[in-house]
């Protein structure tokens, strides 16, 4: 993409080398190498259980890794001495299962971190949250509690919550999986808009059309390895690996 061409030697925002993660004897991620330049949109694809969620959780330091190095903005964040909270101030994450706080209204969900972590004054935080909620079609939901909304609305609210802290890197774990089909396009537009504003994203997804549309790089994960990666046109249309082909045949029955 032209954006990448404009930033050929910009130092990477996120760099992962030889990442390994296991739960007991079960090695969930191995030999993961990943470079994310500013403005990149990386799509992680792969069958369920291939390690997409775990990889995202490792990047956000929610999991302690077993080997390898993760650097963010030129600093190694896999160092045990690092202040995890400081790192997470700059990384937003949206989970597969929304994980909104059920005891807070949507607006309070969205202003909690800006106010308590980032020290944004209440009025400003609320204005920012209401703006984003309106853009996501949730203007009239601000005072509601999450449990009273549909799954799609909850996921959009979760996205707004992550965006309210203005993260430099956004991690999205299958955020469209729970959206109503008619809303997927709407969110896609917003996500693309965010990318153009300079938000770097890594997202796990099962929506191949979505990946083809917005990804700068697609990574195919298989049994904890990045089996192949490249521009979406290449990976999704003419993959090198047999396993990738078989996976795509399953999720893209028409091709």
């Amino acid at each position: 993409m032209s954006r990448d061409a404009a930033l050929p030697d910009a130092s990477a925002l996120l760099e992962v080398r030889d990442l390994r993660k296991s739960y007991g004897d079960n090695v969930v991620l191995r030999d993961i190498d990943l470079t994310v330049q500013p403005h990149d949109v990386i799509c992680l694809i792969g069958s369920s259980g291939s390690g997409k969620s775990t990889l995202l959780r490792c990047l956000n330091l929610l999991e302690e890794i077993d080997d390898g190095v993760i650097s963010f903005a030129g600093r190694e964040i896999s160092d045990p001495r690092i202040d995890r909270r400081e790192v997470r101030r700059h990384i937003g994450m949206v989970f597969q299962s929304y994980n909104l706080f059920p005891h807070l209204t949507v607006l309070d969900n969205c202003t909690l971190a800006p106010r308590r972590v980032h020290g944004v004054p209440k009025a400003e935080a609320e204005e920012r949250a209401r703006d984003l909620l309106a853009r996501f079609g949730l203007a009239d939901q601000a005072e509601k509690h999450p449990d009273r909304m549909s799954g799609g609305q909850q996921q959009r609210a979760a996205l707004v919550r992550a965006l309210c802290t203005r993260p430099t890197l956004l991690l999205l774990d299958e955020i469209t999986a729970a959206l109503d089909p008619e809303l997927v396009g709407e969110v896609l537009t917003i996500v693309r808009e965010l990318a153009e504003q300079g938000t770097t994203m890594i997202l796990a997804t099962h929506e191949m059309a979505f990946a083809r549309d917005i990804a700068t790089t697609v990574c195919f994960l298989d049994e904890g390895r990045i089996l192949e990666h490249g521009p979406p046109a290449e990976i999704l249309s003419s993959p090198r690996e047999e396993r990738t082909r078989r996976f795509l045949a399953r999720v893209l029955p028409q091709t």
Binding site: D25, V27, R30, G68, D79, P80, R81
Partner: protein
């Protein structure tokens, strides 16, 4: 300390960076252990010094911590403790759980037929939570035998047990009910959707989740019950407390009370640790990300 892991296909050896990181983690752990140890030692030494250097300490030590009196009073207290207090609370806990579960289920049932029972359950919890336990013990232990009813026992142990069960049953019922009500309605919807009856939904889905959530407060109530078995001693049952009073009044030394306190503490700690352990294990099994 360095695990030589091999996982079949790729013989993985930790990189030098990882080994370095493990050293850092280890030293961070060591440091926090050191901080914890120093803080603990300083705190307890300070408490000890302040206590022992207080002017009245020698008197207190002689009246409450006399080794001779402790040894002399121990056998009779020990006997009374097992014979009455332990039996009281073991029986009591079993009966209380049954009573409280029934009351809790009745209270949150919405079946029209059960309305009269619901009213009874509500009145029961309101009433018996309001009466001080010691009053209830006295009323039943002295009042029931005084009625001179045919075929009703005069046993102090029996009426003491009944009083404790009634009093604690009301508390525990409310704790269990709060647990049941904290289970998300979607769980009942899922059970309904699977075709379970309302009772089955309660029995297999809601109650197991609800009860697990309230295990810590339940344990709290049971620890409290264990201590309150001493109230039956106040009504004249020759329990550990009574035995201690007996000795204390005779020899003018309060050490037996310290001994009783020790017994109660020793009894509750293993129970608390066991529940913690069970709770922790269930959490790790069921929840990702729980540590």
């Amino acid at each position: 300390m360095i695990p030589e892991q091999t996982d079949g296909e790729d013989a993985w050896r930790p990189s030098s960076r990882e080994l370095e990181r493990r050293d850092v983690r280890r030293s961070l752990r060591r440091r926090s252990l050191a901080v914890a140890t120093v803080a603990t030692v300083v705190f307890f030494v300070a408490v000890w010094v302040v206590t022992v250097s207080s002017p009245g300490w020698p008197t207190v030590e002689a009246t409450f911590f006399s080794g001779h009196d402790a040894r002399a009073a121990m056998p009779s207290i020990w006997h009374a403790f097992w014979r009455y207090n332990v039996l009281l609370f073991l029986l009591g806990e079993a009966l209380i759980l049954v009573l409280a579960m029934v009351v809790a289920l009745v209270r949150q049932s919405r079946t029209p037929l059960l309305l009269p029972l619901r009213i009874v359950a509500i009145v029961y919890t309101d009433l018996f939570r309001g009466i001080p336990t010691i009053l209830l013990v006295f009323m039943l232990a002295f009042g029931m035998p005084a009625l001179n009813l045919q075929g009703i026992t005069n046993s102090l142990f029996f009426w003491g047990l009944v009083a404790l069960v009634l009093s604690y049953g009301a508390y525990v019922a409310e704790v269990i009910r709060s647990g049941i009500e904290s289970v998300h309605p979607s769980q009942i919807a899922s059970a309904d959707a699977l075709g379970l009856t309302r009772f089955q939904a309660m029995r297999y889905v809601v109650v197991p989740q609800g009860v697990r959530r309230v295990i810590p407060p339940l344990l709290n109530d049971f620890v409290s019950l264990q201590k309150d078995t001493a109230l039956v001693g106040a009504a004249g049952l020759f329990d550990a407390m009574f035995a201690a009073r007996d000795y204390a009044n005779f020899y003018f030394n309060f050490t037996p009370y310290t001994v009783v306190a020790g017994y109660f503490i020793v009894l509750t700690i293993p129970l608390a640790r066991l529940t913690d352990h069970l709770q922790h294990r269930a959490m790790e099994r069921e929840r990702q990300g729980a540590r």
